[in-house]
Symmetry: C2
Subunit: 470 residues, 2 copies
């Protein structure tokens, strides 16, 4: 990592510098375990992007309370040491990877669902809570936490907020940002601030809550969140359809929306991925069609809307199933859940994540296909169709590394297509260490400069997750 | 206005200063009409808050295109002149009121719905479009623009975005921020930037779109917006209920939500307001109960959900009506629409706007009642109940001005109650010139300081709407 992560002239006069890793110089605190053993350091170098930086942190600080986070931040601030906040490390863009000689702040010990307020439909949580655990705690009150990234069982809510995670139900219920009403944030210098409120609406001051959501640990450390919950839908219906090609599949999803139906889930899988699933599960899905769509409707009209949707799809689909039976629904959704594991059997995967306006989805899929052909790489695609959010999955051959020029050329072609179609190089995974170059292409020079100035407001000495996102 | 609106040392060397109003010194541009006649200046001094500042702008710049906005911004920047962007002037907090010697930038000439993209469920608009006109343009494609502030027929979409306007349907469909995907913004120095994207989801870079939404013209001038539309619901059902008291009314709304129903509209009116409506319309509403609730359900299950809600309300309500007939629904909703006109007949009104967690609504209404009693003022309350957003309306007596100490003490007590209950001093109207002091009490010193630093990033010479919001 060649990015300078701080400015030498901003160092505190008491900076301990190279002595930081000397265990005798790490200031003790009841809520902090400073870990300098090799196993801890190595376990906190990488995320799930497939990329491991060629560096090692100086120390891992595992914290048990907000005071511990403030203590670690103050130490980082005083010593000018990079500070990388980290939850479960399940990110896909290298946002939580270690910085050379820095502190990794391990927030998994801050893992309490502090309160569920059923009458207010709110949850108060610490950042290290697994998102699925939050959802289960809400379910005991008939409520749910709507955003559901595929990583929901292994990722933390703090990481979800830091990356503005999406998921399958965004089509109807929005992304993480839409569920966050307020945040407790430890600033770079250790001060604790509160943004937002417990009221559903509020317009006093600039929207700092939205600014922190998706900021990937570069503006502050999220140590608490006030989250919106929603009633669990009284009913759910599931449709599974196969289509002659991607164009027909996306047109079908559009026709369902044009009929006034907002599905809770609208997932797409392409033909090559269906072939890998067949190899994995011993099924014959690809024989039913060259593109798969999974739809769910929910709420009191779930069954009625599913029937309407089925009427729209019939004639377009080569195969169609509709059910309100949970066991049957699980069988239909298993196809979608099998997509990534089926590809991972074939080789290491690079999971891309672009977004385009819904009407441009067929062009995006075609561009991905062209990128694969032009570079000789294997790319399989599935998508959150209602959001125009595609995941082109580059499956590496045994000889290929992430840094392979063909792989990079394929990714580059995919990103350029997204921008050409009026979209984004990251729909829901973030920018991290891996997409910064393309982010700048998307934002343009003026916006990029404004972002850096905002970063300077919150982190004047540049210690927070240097080399990431902004 | 004693707030210094710019820093002397930041003036451009070519600053024309006091010569600004000399018509010969106003730089001509095809897309700009510079107006210095008294009628124009006086017409652009005030908004609908009831407060008119004791100052006059130097000039009103009516623009026809983005290039015109850039031209005016460049002139303001070069001369260090305050620039107040303004739509229809229907704001309620003094955000668009004139600044002494400044330029009022009249954006009502930028009033095109540039495009409706039905397949993407997007609208591309200029800021001066009336929000209801946008909604009608969307309706021709079976779509609608969901946010519906009460001012929808007279306020512009640019003003709605600048204040993050709410409305009646927020309960189910969210506020203005939730409908804004991207913005075109002219910066203080005249540069044009673009934030966001046409894709539904996107996480590249800090969320500048949300930062501009609700920033009340203090960070830049919104000259274009990419907005989300939604399918028009296939059906709507309306319930109107009267209850023994406010507590019973709010408990009923809570019970409906606990039954898994998310109403599209959930409005509350208190007993004193019902009395004023009776006087206005010659009805006998107050005899039916001391608190009124209007509920709407929509979508394919509208009728079924209304029936479930009616089952929940029966036994709680002293009077209950349910209908799916549009004419009947119009009769029921007319009560809510009559609330403000009925109060305006009695005297000048100061429309307050606080938000609290839903479960604290009964306490908030009680606190408003106490504030009225303690100060001898007349306060009537209606509320967007599902959002915990109350509008306590202070009705001035013939002798009272807005600045009357009793009126100010009543408003102060209402704001303090909102903060004590974990809420906000502005649910959906903004901060403007009138709520800055209380905003600081809500945000705290550290957040207030961060906001000012963000303001400095976007507007280093402090020319954009000085003395407002931040």
């Amino acid at each position: 990592m060649t990015t300078p992560w701080h400015r030498e002239d901003s160092r505190h006069p008491d900076a301990v510098g190279p002595d930081l890793v000397d265990p005798a110089r790490l200031p003790p605190h009841d809520d902090v375990d400073w870990r300098t053993d090799t196993a801890s350091l190595d376990a906190h170098r990488f995320d799930r992007s497939g990329w491991t930086p060629d560096v090692r942190p100086a120390v891992v600080a595992s914290v048990r309370g907000v005071a511990g986070v403030q203590h670690v931040a103050r130490h980082a601030h005083r010593t000018g040491t990079p500070l990388v906040a980290r939850g479960a490390g399940t990110g896909l863009t290298g946002a939580a990877t270690a910085v050379d000689g820095g502190i990794v702040l391990d927030l998994t010990g801050l893992n309490r669902v502090v309160d569920i307020l059923p009458a207010d439909e709110l949850a108060l949580v610490e950042p290290g809570v697994l998102t699925a655990d939050l959802d289960r705690a809400a379910a005991r009150h008939g409520l749910r936490y709507a955003p559901d990234p595929a990583s929901v069982e292994i990722s933390t809510i703090g990481g979800n907020i830091a990356t503005n995670a999406g998921g399958l139900r965004c089509a109807k219920y929005g992304v993480t940002r839409d569920a966050v009403l307020g945040l407790d944030v430890v600033l770079a210098d250790g001060r604790l601030i509160h943004t937002g409120r417990r009221a559903i609406k509020g317009v006093t001051g600039y929207d700092l809550t939205s600014l922190f959501v998706g900021s990937e640990g570069t503006l502050g450390v999220i140590v608490g969140a006030t989250l919106r919950l929603r009633p669990i839908p009284v009913a759910t219906a599931t449709l599974s359809g196969y289509f002659p090609d991607a164009e027909a599949a996306f047109a079908a999803v559009g026709a369902v929306r044009a009929a006034g139906i907002v599905p809770a889930v609208a997932e797409f899988i392409d033909g090559p991925t269906l072939e890998r699933i067949d190899e994995h599960l011993g099924t014959d899905l690809r024989a039913r069609g060259a593109a798969f769509v999974l739809l769910q409707t929910d709420g009191a009209a779930a069954e009625q809307e599913a029937a309407t949707a089925a009427g729209v799809l019939r004639g377009r689909a080569t195969s169609l199933e509709v059910t309100t039976d949970p066991a049957e629904a699980a069988r239909l959704t298993a196809v979608r859940r099998a997509a990534l594991p089926a590809l991972e059997r074939v080789g290491r995967v690079l999971i891309e994540d672009i977004g385009v306006p819904r009407s441009r989805l067929p062009e995006a899929v075609a561009a991905v296909r062209d990128a694969a052909a032009a570079t000789g790489t294997s790319i399989h695609t599935f998508a959150h169709a209602a959001d125009g959010n595609l995941h082109p999955i580059i499956v590496l051959s045994a000889e290929q590394e992430l840094t392979d020029p063909d792989v990079q050329a394929a990714a580059d072609a995919v990103f350029r297509a997204a921008l050409r179609l009026g979209g984004t190089v990251s729909g829901e995974h973030g920018v991290g260490a891996l997409k910064r170059r393309w982010m700048r292409a998307e934002l343009g020079e003026d916006v990029d400069a404004l972002q850096r100035q905002i970063k300077d407001v919150f982190d004047p000495t540049g210690i927070l997750n240097p080399g990431k996102a902004v």
